[in-house]
């Protein structure tokens, strides 16, 4: 028997706990195995965090467990490049079309020879090269500062994951050198890759992801710190690319069933954004064949269905903006509009406050 609820907001907490619990027994999927650090994480880890647009966070399960951000870094570095050098300069090097290919495919757009989008490794590596910085350390410092501003706390890397990523990154080296040969990559490919491996190794929690998502939901302002991290134009582009390319080659499934801009990583994280409303962070390291967290996807589906979060839900049809039209007197017409507003009144003891 559940304990009696004392606070009304516990209803929301209970809702989230319930949704998480429904998927807790799922053990499908497998840990990422390409580096020993990922293969060795606790497979049962399962955390869910939800940040409202005023920065209030609900947590359920392992919401304080740190894991590596991996590909969830991609939209953020893309945003930093857009923020620093502008859309035109970025668009000249990285496209915005879904590739329908695996994330680590060695491919570029056939005609333009540029990466098809910033969510595949080729585009993400190109995005790193577009972040200004005289040295790799300077470039990385800028990235770290940017991510930390989204999360509202200083983020650090996992040095072991970074070392392993660097040691085993032959595929990414192939991609970087290919980009250099096409004239897409600025600078030394190995230096760019070093920064890329570091950015993938940032340690985050599901709550960090929820806060980063809430910053996007608020159009670039971190609701916890009040700081503007980037502008609304950058956020809009970033969310657009997350919608079309964020979930590897499962983007169609995701948009149909969940309907939120999102990005997953092989560390087991998923970040999802409902613009104007909230941010979600989920962690569960068992991955499906496409590299997305099995329980993470399931939880996001449930959240979307049960809380009504799909961004293409058409709800406004039945109650139109113009509510009534009437004539006060000859040639004086009153149009009454409605606004999405909730008013609440108190009586009794409250009045004497």
């Amino acid at each position: 028997m559940l304990a009696k609820i004392q606070a009304v907001a516990e209803l929301v907490q209970r809702y989230l706990d319930q949704i998480r619990d429904e998927h807790a027994s799922i053990t499908d999927g497998a840990l990422a195995t390409y580096i020993p650090e990922l293969a060795g994480v606790e497979p049962s880890g399962f955390g869910l965090s939800l940040s409202l647009s005023d920065g209030y966070v609900y947590e359920s399960g392992d919401a304080t467990v740190e894991f590596t951000i991996q590909s969830i870094s991609k939209p953020f570095t893309y945003a930093l490049a857009l923020d620093q050098i502008g859309q035109d300069a970025v668009d000249a090097r990285i496209g915005v079309e879904p590739s329908g290919e695996a994330f680590n495919e060695i491919s570029v757009d056939a005609a333009k020879k540029t990466p098809k989008n910033p969510m595949i490794n080729a585009g993400a590596i190109a995005a790193v090269s577009l972040v200004p910085g005289a040295t790799p350390d300077e470039r990385f410092a800028r990235i770290r500062e940017f991510y930390s501003a989204f999360a509202g706390r200083p983020l650090d890397i996992d040095p072991d994951v970074y070392a392993s990523e660097k040691k085993t990154g032959s595929r990414n080296r192939a991609i970087a050198y290919m980009l250099q040969s096409f004239g897409v990559l600025e600078g030394d490919p190995d230096e760019v890759l070093d920064v890329y491996f570091r950015q993938c190794s940032f340690k985050v929690t599901s709550t960090d992801l929820a806060r980063m998502a809430a910053t996007l939901a608020r159009g670039g302002v971190n609701p916890m710190t009040g700081r503007r991290v980037t502008d609304t134009v950058v956020v809009q582009r970033m969310l657009a690319v997350m919608v079309t390319c964020g979930m590897y080659d499962a983007a169609g499934d995701w948009v149909s069933a969940v309907g939120m801009p999102a990005k997953s990583g092989v560390g087991g994280g998923i970040v999802a954004v409902l613009p104007g409303q909230l941010g979600i962070g989920v962690y569960s390291p068992l991955l499906d064949g496409k590299g997305n967290s099995v329980r993470g996807v399931r939880v996001c589906r449930s959240l979307s269905q049960r809380l009504g979060l799909h961004f293409l839900t058409v709800t406004r049809e039945s109650r139109s903006t113009i509510r009534t039209i009437s004539d006060a007197c000859d040639r004086v017409r009153i149009c009454t509009s409605r606004r999405p507003l909730v008013r609440r009144h108190r009586t009794g003891a409250a009045q004497g406050r």
């Binding site: 009304v8 516990e10 209803l11 979060l309 709800t315 507003l341 909730v342 409250a350």
Partner: protein, 94 residues
């Protein structure tokens, strides 16, 4: 919707020491979904369990569907004035 309702719930928590009866006026609410309806229903039940009362001003049956309206005639009102009158009566009885 969910995010807006969550804010109402949290506000009620913050202020619940200062009222006996809370009236939620949804007259000007445009859009609502079942998640929000469920949370608002839960809010009323929770307030009842701590000895408080929640009343609703809902002239367009946004929260409580018209066919269920009769079941809630004591707590759902068409205009704010009626709800305030009911709140005062409830308070006197507490």
């Amino acid at each position: 919707l969910f995010a807006g309702t969550e804010q109402v719930l949290r506000r009620v928590d913050d202020e619940k020491a200062h009222f006996d009866v809370a009236i939620l006026d949804v007259t000007r609410v445009d859009t609502i979904n079942d998640a929000a309806r469920g949370l608002l229903a839960g809010m009323r039940a929770t307030l009842s369990s701590v000895g408080k009362e929640g009343l609703l001003v809902d002239p367009d049956n946004a929260v409580v569907h018209a066919e269920n309206r009769d079941d809630f005639h004591a707590v759902v009102f068409g205009v704010l004035g009626d709800a305030v009158a009911a709140a005062k009566a409830l308070q006197a009885a507490l």
